[in-house]
């Protein structure tokens, strides 16, 4: 066997092994999460290694526990879901409003410093979120925004605007300039051009960016912990789940049910628009 033949065969096998390995490490943890959420805690303690739930153990009381409001003995996750949805959607809207004009300007207009601006925005990520957390914590405490969802949304906007500009810009530069010239010839002002021509054309990119921002806001934990920990009515799902795990009397199966509740919305959204998102994230990465 020549070296080439040996390598072909070796890497052929290795490829299958890698694919199987990847499938196991990505799917198994999520399967395990759903599995545990569907069995009572006794069944878990009795046989921790089981990867199946028997028909007699099967239960959905864990979900009832998690979703019911605190008054009726549950954990009140419905309320947390609502809070998370409000904060995330608010963040998406505000971020897009702030990022679209900036991205348009960076991609189209030759203004003073247009080359540096997008790099400047991205420099935001050089500073740790914890560094921002300290002063924002103090400022919001001063302004009385320290345990409000509005304050949280503002912080998320600041965290997501730079990457949104970057993603939108990469898409906007692919729209031919002649389309804008045509609009200008027909008498559109700059603002009209953006609203009636550029935005409809950039819709896929807007959706991808919005989805990514939603994901970041929905999954965020540090700022929620810092700002909202004192006020259980305002907790987001992430924070509610983390606080749930600190409770002594909470069985792990209920914790897993909470994890499923937290994961499902963002995963459903992601699968609905997977292609859109992956292309939006990596556009520009395939150019050498």
């Amino acid at each position: 066997m020549t070296r080439a033949q040996f390598e072909e065969r070796f890497f052929g096998v290795l490829r299958r092994v890698v694919i199987a390995f990847l499938a196991v490490i990505t799917v198994l943890p999520f399967y395990y999460m759903v599995l545990l959420s569907l069995k009572p805690i006794d069944a878990l303690l009795l046989d921790p290694g089981s990867l199946w739930v028997s028909a007699k153990d099967f239960t959905v009381t864990t979900y009832r526990d998690v979703l019911r409001s605190a008054d009726s003995g549950g954990q009140g996750f419905l309320k947390f879901l609502l809070n998370s949805a409000l904060v995330s959607l608010g963040t998406v809207v505000l971020t897009l409003v702030a990022a679209v004009p900036g991205a348009y300007a960076v991609s189209r207009l030759k203004f003073f410093g247009h080359r540096q601006v997008s790099a400047l925005f991205l420099a935001v990520y050089l500073f740790p979120a914890t560094l921002l957390a300290v002063p924002l914590f103090v400022i919001f405490a001063k302004m009385g925004l320290s345990s409000s969802l509005v304050g949280l949304a503002i912080v998320y906007v600041a965290q997501t605007v730079p990457v949104s500009i970057y993603m939108l810009k990469n898409y906007l530069v692919t729209i031919p300039y002649s389309i804008e010239e045509a609009a200008a010839l027909d008498g559109c002002s700059r603002l009209q051009t953006v609203r009636k021509v550029i935005l409809p054309l950039a819709l896929p990119s807007l959706m991808a960016t919005g989805l990514y921002v939603f994901m970041i806001a929905w999954n965020e934990f540090l700022f929620a912990l810092l700002f909202l920990a004192a006020d259980p009515d305002k907790w987001t799902v992430s924070l509610g789940l983390a606080q749930l795990s600190n409770g002594i009397e909470v069985p792990k199966t209920v914790l897993m049910a909470g994890s499923v509740v937290l994961t499902i919305p963002v995963v459903l959204l992601f699968f609905a628009a997977e292609r859109l998102l992956t292309e939006g994230l990596t556009s520009g990465a395939d150019k050498s």
Binding site: A4, E7, E8, V18, I19, L22, A23, T26, P29, F30, Y32, P48, G49, P101, G102, A105, L109, K110, V117, F121, V124, L126, F127, P128, A129, T130, L131, L132, V134, P135, V138, I139, I154, A158, P162, I165, A184, L185, D186, G187, S189, L191, F221, L222, L226, S238, L241, L255, S259, V260, L262, V266, V267, T278, L281, T282, A285, D286, K287, S288
Partner: protein, 339 residues
């Protein structure tokens, strides 16, 4: 046609007159480049304002706070300036475990960055050619990246638990482990291999593994996108010349992928260096995993010592910048080519 712009430079940018008051007021109309300049600045200013208020100003204030004696209780009445001191920094540098924490952070960051990029590269190479179920697997592989960190951290915690975790149960059944291993709370784990004794920082390694698992999809996405843009002809030519798979990878693919890999390494390094949630949720910073970001949080919430927290965060940011500075000095050209 309603308007008929005169010159060629005018035509590039002919917004209607009413939108441009200075042009209609009798003075000489602005040149297209000046108008583009104005419009550009006008368009970018709302974005800039948001970033200024919520990012730049707070950072500037952190720098000030780091040099002041500030506790959370008396910060309400405090002015912006005053009480200058370097106490916070002496406190940070003298405090027990500062240097070891910085070392832990570096180890954690370097390990996670390297691991996630290598795993992402392997995944991209394995999924390069079509096979049945490829689309499904590709989507499934992004799960760790899109799922909320709190949820996946708890899944790991439960799965690795010594009492009811699936990993220890299977480990005992398949590999005959004598005692359950507490992955997330063991600082040093003794390993006997070929008559040698090793001490491995088990909790730290577990956290690094978590980080690799969570972020390899990110690297995978970028590398796969670049991989699919490599022209087929290059590899075919190498194949005709009799290059083996390793040679084709080393001499054809890797040079093409290098820019995106370098970019990914920088990005992941920055993100991981500042990472807080993952370590906090998994170990709470105990058992030898006290990365610097968790220490900042502890200063802030356990002692309400805003000044010390700010100083610690600042030291963290400065060390990151020094590291990045070194990187760009030595390897800067590659990344610059990419951007």
């Amino acid at each position: 046609m309603t308007t008929a712009p005169a010159g060629a430079p005018e035509r590039r940018d002919s917004g209607p007159r009413p939108a441009d008051p200075s042009a209609s007021s009798g003075r000489r109309p602005m040149t297209a480049s000046r108008r583009a300049n104005r419009a550009g600045l006008a368009f970018v200013s709302p974005t800039f304002l948001v970033v200024l208020v919520v990012v730049v100003l707070p950072i500037a204030w952190t720098v000030l706070l780091a040099f002041q004696d500030a506790k959370l209780v008396d910060i309400q009445g405090m002015g912006l300036f005053g009480n200058w001191s370097l106490d916070n920094f002496t406190q940070v540098f003298d405090s027990a475990g500062f240097w070891s924490s910085l070392g832990t952070t570096l180890l954690y960051t370097a390990g996670s960055t390297l691991g996630s990029v290598v795993l992402g590269l392997a995944a991209a190479l394995a999924l390069r050619k079509p096979f049945r179920g490829r689309g499904l697997l590709r989507a499934a592989m992004l799960l760790p990246y899109v799922a909320p960190v709190v949820a996946v951290a708890f899944v790991w915690e439960v799965a690795l638990s010594p009492q009811y975790g699936v990993v220890n149960d299977w480990g005992r059944r398949l590999f005959g482990w004598d005692d359950p291993i507490a992955f997330l709370s063991t600082r040093e784990y003794e390993v006997h291999l070929l008559g040698l004794h090793f001490e491995i920082p088990l909790a730290l390694l577990t956290v690094i593994a978590f980080e690799c698992w969570r972020y390899f999809p990110f690297a995978f996405l970028f590398i796969l996108a670049r991989l699919q843009a490599v022209p087929d002809g290059l590899e075919e030519a190498a194949l005709v010349d009799g290059a083996t798979p390793t040679q084709r990878f080393r001499h054809i693919l890797l040079p093409q992928l290098m820019p995106v890999i370098a970019l990914l390494c920088v990005l992941r390094f920055i993100m991981t260096f500042n990472k807080f949630d993952d370590v906090y949720l998994l170990t709470g910073g105990g058992a030898g995993t006290d990365v610097a970001a968790v220490r900042v949080y502890d200063f802030l919430t356990a002692r309400y010592d805003v000044g010390a927290a700010a100083a610690q965060a600042l030291v963290l940011a400065v060390s990151l910048m020094i590291l990045l500075g070194c990187y760009f000095k030595f390897f800067g050209n590659k990344v610059q080519e990419e951007s």
